[in-house]
Amino acid sequence: MERMELGTVGALAREISESVLAPRAAQVDAEQRWPAEGIASLRSELGGLVVPEKFGGMGHGLLAVAQVGEATGRACASTSICFGMHLVGSAVIAADASQVQQERYLGPIAAGRHLTTLAVSEPGTGGEFWLPQTSMEHVGRESLRLTGTKSFVTNGGHADSYVVSTVATGADVPLGQFSCVVLDSDLPGMEWDASWRGFGMRGNESRSLRLRGVEVSSHQLLGEEGDEIWYVFNVVAPYFLMAMSGTYLGVAAAALEEARTHLLRRHHAHSGRALATLPLVQHRLGEMWARVERTRRLIYHAATEAEAGRPDGLPGLFSAKAEVAETAESVVNDALTLVGGVGYAQDSVLHRYLRDARAAHVMAPLTDVLRVWVGKTLLEQPLLEG
């Protein structure tokens, strides 16, 4: 993929969203099916978005992820998160890729032929997904054996590779030796559980993956052993938070637009007065607009600050996702209020927005945790302790 300026990237993402994602969004939700067409389209056009140019990618960063997420989230939150997880995964692989990994993963990703994803969460980690319990043992000099269970693997069973977090086990291994490994799909010992069925985000194909002593070459190790914490907080968290923020900003913006469109065309039957002329409605819509827009500014600000490595980056990223979760929730709710019975009806698109938006609070790091982290950062407290 050639270098493409950010503006062009945004335009391309909007075009794909409108032409491929939007027409299928309701169906994906209703049938709870993985959005194969939308992902194929995004992967082939923008799959190398965050792969550095030196590896043939487009070399973009957090801001592009947020903007692409907004464009896709507007049309279909499920597809947006599925593609967002690919972008996060490819950023992780690219962050410190070996020669083998460059050829095996980054090349195909940059060429739009490879879909990757994250398999980081585990059951019972209580949101502290960076402290995995999936074990990694050395088998001989050149092999690794992985045992454990990963939960909520987005794109589960559809991706070509999975970025997995592990902890070292065995005699004489140091405490807290967490590592990242990239796995190809369908290796012996990989077992997929039945799909998790959610309240919203129903096209995610979020599944549990059992790793029953899966053996892989040590070339699959990303970076060095023990780099997982670095990966999680320098790559996974920023990219994931921006992918999420973009996606749910898109949902909020879509709900706002849905409400505005509705208000523009509705009249009271008895008085003939247009809804758009009601001050109460105007006031509420004005609040909604400002909320969406200030959240967008925060997200963009967080992305640019984080890319530049400036102090505002970290609290910005944390706050962005916390803010977007609340914004999406409230704006969709306000839209439901404004659109009234039409919006509350079974076939209203606001249904999907409401269910999808609610996931923003649920997907770790949780909103409350993010707020605490912001506080910790501002008060110079250790992020992961206490």
Binding site: G61, G176, I229, W230, N234, E307, A308, E385
Partner: protein, 825 residues
């Protein structure tokens, strides 16, 4: 994980409890029985890093609730088990509201056997908690230790358009490190992220450049400063760096450096400037070597150009002398500390070695003596076709660039060629004159009735034979042809054509063809000679006896006639086209009769034509000046005409000129030797001589001499009776009047000193330049020659007649003295 074993502190317990705990824990935990007062001291560790401790508060403990509140078990390293009795049960009921199960557990006082298991659970929970805490600490340390990723922020700093701009931009932080760049800068400088972030901009340039670069970045004086470096792929680059102080949104001062890759442009500019300079130098040198003037002026100009164009401190040229074994300093320009010898032998010093080896050489003179800077002498042999012409030497303070050295070999060749040409030119101009004159008639015929002069002048700059020619042909005793022609072109080819035309025309005329007819034949002939087309010629055939003149012109200026009365007139008839142009256009012939003593003048246009002047004006000038010069000897007229017509005019064309004068016919009288004849003789001589407009005094002299000579004959040759006396008067070609008086008698024997009438003879001697008396048995002949002296001018000596008086019998021309050939000017 704590390395120390866990503790179990027993407060107010019964022996039964102690036993149960001992049975369950020893020796894996320290079991200590303490009082309620002691337990605080043991658990209140100021280091706050306690080993996992479980406090068992037994049934005999007086205030278990107060103790727990005092202990504040946290479930991390301190937990408590309270044994509830009937008395304390109610008070303990609030504890589960305040403490979690991992902090405080209740066991019935009657179930002492449950205490060890409960303690085990608490210790395990605390161990897990401790491990998690440790892992979090490790994770936190790893998080804190890992390097942060920051992408280059060009887009945010520069905006989307500058990011995509075709000019490079980099932002420097306050240490000079790279903080951001745009796409073009990344391409130019080979920047990658994150490796290049924070890298010093100066680290991208080679060390010798650094002082200048640092100054440039600090002072930001010259926005056009360029710096050279090698791109990571090895290609050399020339970059223009334009630093500028800017402040960002936070008001932080940053340095924005615009980076432009000017490698190609600078290279092209340098090459162009160099080529231009070299081309100008070459042109200058070429112009210098071919300019008018002497060779030393040429060389002087060359050295001046070298100094001016190349900025060398000194330029010198030595040329070969003495058959090439010496080199003499011929020109120099610029200043030099050295004063080299003006003459160098071959092989001696660097100049001589360059000449001897015919190879360029460089000689380095280290700085020294009175602070003279180091000097580099670069010398080139001047060689043309294996012939050494000299040496070119340049003194510089820096080595000359390779391209300049290459250009200089070309310059040396130019100078060598110029020197060679100069030598050639000198030879050529000599050769050309020789060739030209070999093609012109070696001498003019000596004619009784026509006085002649002819001149040929090459052009002022001529190095080749010109195309003008003349001819005078003695056709028969009565006819003479005067011809002037002009062949197109110059040089050997023109000379050859000239020779052919001249021969052909002579052949036709000698066959007796009239001028127009001869030109018709010549016209056809001309068409066969490549390159002869458009040649011009004028032919005039004069009957020397009658003065009848026939002429024809082929595109050539007409003859000019100046009559005895001094009236000039061009012969306007007889015009025809240039030769070889057409066979259809006829050649016309003009005819007229010229009076004796008339002048006939034929010339080529070089004599009267001037750039920027109408031809008729030139012809008028020619006629006017000619008139002023007449009458005079044709030779004098020719010289004066050339001098006056061409005075002060730089002539590129050559000139051919023929001046002829129809002399009056001779006077031949045979009279009886009687005194009575004298009056008639006197009259006839006077009439004949006056016809030519001879000056009165000369006429008087002539008449007196003749009368005297006749009187002598009467007196001495025929004392016994009258015989005949022959008198002949004529002009010769030199304008002299010859007189002959012949008798056929026998003079009295001569007496010493009085063999002749003294008075008469003295007179004759006085009046005549030459007088000669020849006495034989058959008679006596007196010959006289009188030279007219006009206008105070003296006849030049070399054109004086021979010193011996000559008899000039009519009909048979005497051997002609050769007319001295005028040499080239």
């Amino acid at each position: 994980m704590s390395s120390a074993p866990p503790r179990i502190l027993l407060v107010g317990v019964t022996a039964e409890v102690v036993a149960a705990v001992h049975a369950g824990f020893a020796p894996e935990a320290d079991l200590v029985e303490v009082t309620a007062e002691e337990v605080l001291a043991r658990t209140d560790d100021p280091a706050r890093r306690r080993r996992p401790t479980v406090v068992v508060i037994g049934p005999v403990s007086p205030d278990p609730v107060g103790l727990i509140h005092t202990l504040r078990p946290n479930g991390v390293d301190l937990a408590a088990i309270v044994m509830a009795t009937a008395a304390t049960e109610a008070k303990l009921a609030t504890l589960p509201l305040l403490f979690s199960g991992e902090q405080v557990r209740q066991v019935s006082a009657t179930a002492a056997d449950q205490v060890p298991a409960t303690a085990h659970q608490l210790l395990e929970a605390m161990a897990r908690q401790e491990q998690l805490t440790a892992v979090r600490a490790v994770a936190q340390r790893q998080l804190a230790a890992g390097p942060a990723i920051s992408r280059q922020v060009g887009e945010q700093l520069f905006g989307e358009f500058l990011t995509q701009a075709p000019v490079g931009a980099v932002m420097l932080d306050d240490t000079g490190g790279l903080a951001a760049w745009n796409h073009k800068a990344a391409d130019i400088l080979g920047l990658t992220e994150p490796d290049s972030l924070g890298l010093q901009l100066t680290a991208l340039f080679p060390p010798p450049t650094l002082p200048r670069l640092r100054r440039h970045l600090d002072l930001r004086a010259d926005s056009d400063a360029v710096f050279e470096r090698a791109h990571p792929d090895g290609t050399p680059q020339t970059l223009r760096l334009a630093p500028q102080q800017v402040s960002d949104a936070q008001g932080v001062e940053r340095t924005l450096v615009v980076v432009e890759d000017v490698t190609d442009r600078v290279r092209a500019q340098r090459e162009l400037a160099e080529r231009t300079s070299h081309a100008l130098l070459s042109a200058d040198v070429a112009a210098a070597m071919t300019a008018p003037g002497s060779v030393s002026q040429h060389l002087q100009r060359c050295t001046r150009s070298l100094v001016d164009h190349l900025g060398v401190s000194c330029a010198r040229i030595w040329t070969t002398q003495h058959r090439g074994d010496l080199l003499g300093l011929a020109a120099r320009a610029g200043t030099d500390h050295d004063e080299p010898p003006t003459q160098v032998s071959l092989g001696e010093s660097v100049v001589g070695r360059i000449a001897a080896q015919r190879r360029p050489a460089v000689e380095y003179t280290p700085p020294g003596r009175a602070g003279d800077p180091a000097a580099l002498f670069t010398g080139y042999p001047l060689v043309f076709k294996d012939e050494l012409m000299g040496v070119l030497g340049l003194t510089t303070h820096h080595a000359l660039p390779a391209s300049t050295r290459v250009a200089l070999t070309g310059i040396a060749d130019l100078i060598a060629v110029g020197l060679q040409q100069d030598r050639l030119l000198q030879r050529l101009s000599t050769t050309a004159a020789t060739l030209q004159h070999s093609l012109l008639p070696p001498a003019l015929p000596e004619l009784d009735r026509v006085a002649l002069a002819a001149r040929y002048l090459p052009g002022d700059d001529a190095i080749e034979a010109g195309g003008d020619w003349y001819e005078v042909l003695d056709l028969d005793p009565d006819h003479v042809a005067l011809i002037v022609g002009d062949v197109v072109g110059q040089g050997a080819a023109a000379a050859a054509i000239m020779g052919q035309l001249r021969s052909a025309l002579a052949a036709h005329l000698l066959q007796g063809q009239a001028p127009a007819r001869a030109l018709e034949h010549l016209n056809r002939f001309t068409k066969r000679i490549p390159g002869a087309m458009a040649s011009t010629v004028t032919v005039a055939v004069l009957n020397t006896g009658t003065g009848a003149l026939r002429w024809a012109c082929a595109g050539h200026p007409p003859p000019l006639v100046i009559g005895p009365d001094g009236q000039p007139g061009y012969l306007e008839d007889g015009r025809g086209p240039c030769l070889g142009v057409s066979e259809r256009l006829p050649f016309r012939e003009g005819h007229t009769r010229v009076a004796p003593a008339s002048y006939l003048l034929l010339c080529s246009d070089g004599l009267f034509e001037r750039r920027g002047e109408v031809i008729d004006d030139g012809l008028d000038r020619l006629a006017a000046i000619s008139t002023e010069l007449c009458p005079d000897l044709p030779a004098l007229i020719a010289d004066q005409l050339i001098e006056r017509m061409l005075a002060g005019y730089h002539r590129t064309d050559d000139v051919a000129l023929v001046v002829g004068r129809l002399l009056p016919s001779p006077l031949q009288l045979t009279v009886p030797a009687r005194a009575t004849e004298l009056a008639g003789i006197r009259r006839q001589v006077r009439t004949w001589s006056e016809r030519d407009g001879l000056p009165d005094e000369l006429v008087d002299d002539l008449v007196q001499c003749i009368v005297e000579a006749v009187a002598n004959c009467i007196e001495h040759a025929y004392p016994d009776g009258p015989g005949d006396i022959e008198i002949e008067l004529s002009y010769n070609a030199d304008g002299q009047v010859s007189a002959r008086v012949t008798d056929f008698g026998r003079w009295r024997p001569a007496t010493a000193g009085m063999g002749y009438r003294g008075h008469g003879l003295t007179l004759i001697h006085n009046l005549n330049d030459h007088a000669h008396i020849d006495t034989t048995s058959a008679g006596t002949t007196v010959r006289l020659q009188l030279t007219p002296r006009r206008g105070g001018r003296q006849v030049p000596n070399q054109q004086s007649p021979p010193s011996t008086p000559r008899a000039v019998p009519s009909g048979t021309p005497p051997p002609a003295p050769r007319t001295p050939r005028p040499g080239p000017r």
